[in-house]
C-alpha cells in the first residue's frame, strides 16, 4: 500500500491517473454508442487515418493540437466518403473497402512522417505515453473530453432513437444526417484527445471494449452507456496503477486488462455469457 502512495506522490503519475480517469470515462461512455451502432470496424479505420491526418494537419497548419484535429477530421471524412463511394460503385462492400483505405492511409502517413521534420514516434502514436503529459496537455484533454461527454449525454435521447431505428427517428423530425456526422466528429475528437495520452491502439480498445463488455449484462441503453463509462474508468485507472507497480508499459497493460475483462465476461456473464447460453441450450434439450 505504501508503495502505491509513494508512486502517486510523483506529479507525472498524478497527471497520468487524472488522464486515465478522463479517457476511461469519455471513451467508455462512447463505446456504448459504438457497440449499439455496430461501428467498431469503422472506428478502427478512423483511428488508422489519424496518422496521415495528423501528419497532413502538421504540414498545413504547423504543430498544434488544433492542426492535429483538423487534419484528422479532413482525412477521416475523406476516407469515409471514399469507402461509401467504393461500396456504391462496385460489388465490393464497405467492410472490405474500409480496411484497404485505412491501411493505405496509414502507410501514406508513415511515408509523410519520414519526410517532414516532425518528431512523431510511431510507438508513441500507437501506445502513447501517459507518463509524459504536461499540464497543458491535461487541461486540453479535459476540456475536449468533457465537452464531448456533455454533448453525448445531452443528446442521449435523439442519438438512441436514431441508432435504434433511423427511420422512426427521421419520421419524428430528428435531423438524422446531422446527427450521424456529428457523432463521427465527436468520435474523432475523442480519438485525438486520447491520442496524446494513450495512443491510438488504447483509444480504439477503450472505444469498443467497455461497451461490448457491459452489453453482456444489461437490457437498458442508459445502463450500457454509464456502465461503459464506469468500467472504462475502472480499467484505465487500475491498469495504470498495475503498470506502475509491475513497471511495464502503461498503454499495453491497460489495453490488455480491458481485453481480459471482456473475455472473462464473454464466457461468464450470468446474463448473456457463453456458458450461460450453453447451459440454457442444454437445459432446453433435456
Amino acid at each position: 500500500m505504501s508503495e502505491w502512495v509513494e508512486l502517486l506522490s510523483y506529479p507525472f503519475n498524478q497527471r497520468a491517473l487524472l488522464a486515465a480517469v478522463l479517457i476511461g470515462a469519455v471513451n467508455g461512455y462512447f463505446s456504448g454508442y459504438v457497440v449499439l451502432r455496430k461501428t467498431a470496424l469503422f472506428t478502427g479505420a478512423l483511428s488508422h487515418s489519424l496518422l496521415p491526418g495528423t501528419a497532413v494537419g502538421f504540414i498545413l497548419f504547423g504543430i498544434s493540437a488544433f492542426s492535429a484535429f483538423s487534419g484528422a477530421l479532413m482525412v477521416s471524412l475523406l476516407i469515409g466518403l471514399c469507402a461509401i463511394a467504393i461500396s456504391r460503385g462496385s460489388r465490393v462492400d464497405k467492410d472490405a473497402a474500409l480496411p484497404i483505405l485505412c491501411t493505405s492511409a496509414f502507410a501514406i502517413g508513415l511515408l509523410i512522417l519520414d519526410h517532414i521534420k516532425v518528431n512523431i514516434e510511431l510507438e508513441g502514436f500507437l501506445f502513447g505515453n501517459i507518463l509524459f503529459l504536461s499540464d497543458s496537455d491535461l487541461w486540453y484533454a479535459y476540456l475536449v473530453g468533457f465537452s464531448v461527454l456533455v454533448l453525448l449525454v445531452v443528446f442521449q435521447r435523439p442519438i438512441l432513437l436514431f441508432i435504434f431505428e433511423p427511420n422512426v427517428a427521421q419520421a419524428q423530425g430528428i435531423p438524422v444526417r446531422c446527427l450521424s456526422y456529428g457523432l463521427i466528429t465527436l468520435l474523432i475528437m475523442t480519438l485525438i484527445t486520447s491520442l496524446q495520452a494513450v495512443g491510438v491502439i488504447l483509444a480504439l480498445g477503450l472505444l469498443v471494449a467497455p461497451g461490448a463488455t457491459v452489453y453482456l449484462f444489461v437490457d437498458s441503453p442508459r445502463a450500457l452507456l454509464w456502465g461503459g463509462a464506469l468500467l472504462g474508468v475502472v480499467t484505465t485507472s487500475s491498469g495504470l496503477l498495475l503498470s506502475l507497480v509491475l513497471d511495464e508499459r502503461s498503454g499495453a497493460v491497460i489495453v490488455l486488462l480491458a481485453g481480459l475483462v471482456f473475455l472473462t465476461c464473454f464466457f461468464f456473464s450470468p446474463k448473456y455469457g457463453l456458458l450461460r447460453q450453453w447451459l440454457r441450450a442444454r437445459h432446453a434439450h433435456h
Partner: protein, 253 residues
Amino acid sequence: MPHRDHIHWGDEADGDHGCEHLLEVRGLHVHYGAVCALHDISFKVACGHSLALLGSNGAGKSTLLKSIAGLLPAGQGTIYWRGQPVRKHTYEIAYLPQREAVDWNFPITVRGMVEMGCYAQLGAWRAFGPHEDGVVQKAIRAMKLEEVQDRQIAALSGGQQQRAFIARALAQEAHVLLLDEPFSGLDQPAQEMLTGLLAELVEEGRLVMASHHDLKTVASSFDLALLIKREIVAFGPPGESMSESNLAEAFTA
C-alpha cells in the same frame, strides 16, 4: 391537465370521438433515380378507418407508407394531415418498421421501448411526468403486454414484438399508424389477436394503414383497401375494390 390527445382511449374510452380528421395524398410521385416507384397517387381517408395497402412486390406499398411518414425526400405532390402538410404533425403520425428491419438485440425492454415513444413529444430534454407514465402504462395494457413488459425485446414472440411497436406508437399518442407488413410471420392466433387490437384502435378514432399480402383476410381486418401498382388500381371498401378484374390488374406484371 387538458388532453393533448383528442382520442380517448384505455380507461377514458367513451366511444364517441366525433373526429373527422383527414389524411389526404395529392398527386404523389416518387422516383428512385430513373425508376418510377409511385405515379400520381391521390386519395383521401379519414381517421376511424383501417386501410389495407395491396399490391405485388415492388408495387410501391412500402414507398407509399414511407412517403406519408416523411421518410423520403420530397418528390412531387403533397400529403396533408388535418389540412396541413404532414411534416407539421410529426408525433401524430407513427411509422412502424418491418420486423426484419429492427435490431432485436438492442439492449432495451418492452417498457423501455414504449417509453421511447414519449420522446417524440418530450423532445431531447423534458423529463417524464405523471402524464407520460400514465400513457406508457395505458399503452402497455392496451396491447396486453403487462406480463412481458420487463423482458428484453428479443425474448418476445413475433406477435408480442409487433404489439410492442404498436404500444410505442400509442405512447407517442399517434393518430395515424403506418404499419409495414404487420401480419407477416405471425401464426394464426397472433394474427387474430392483432386484428382485434387494430380494430379497437380504429374504434377509438385512429387511422390504421397497413401494407398487407394475405388477400383472404383483408375483408375481415380492414374496412378499406387500396390496390396499387405504381399507380392506384382501385380504392374503396374491400367488397368493391377487390373485384376480380382489379386484383388481376394489380397482381399481374
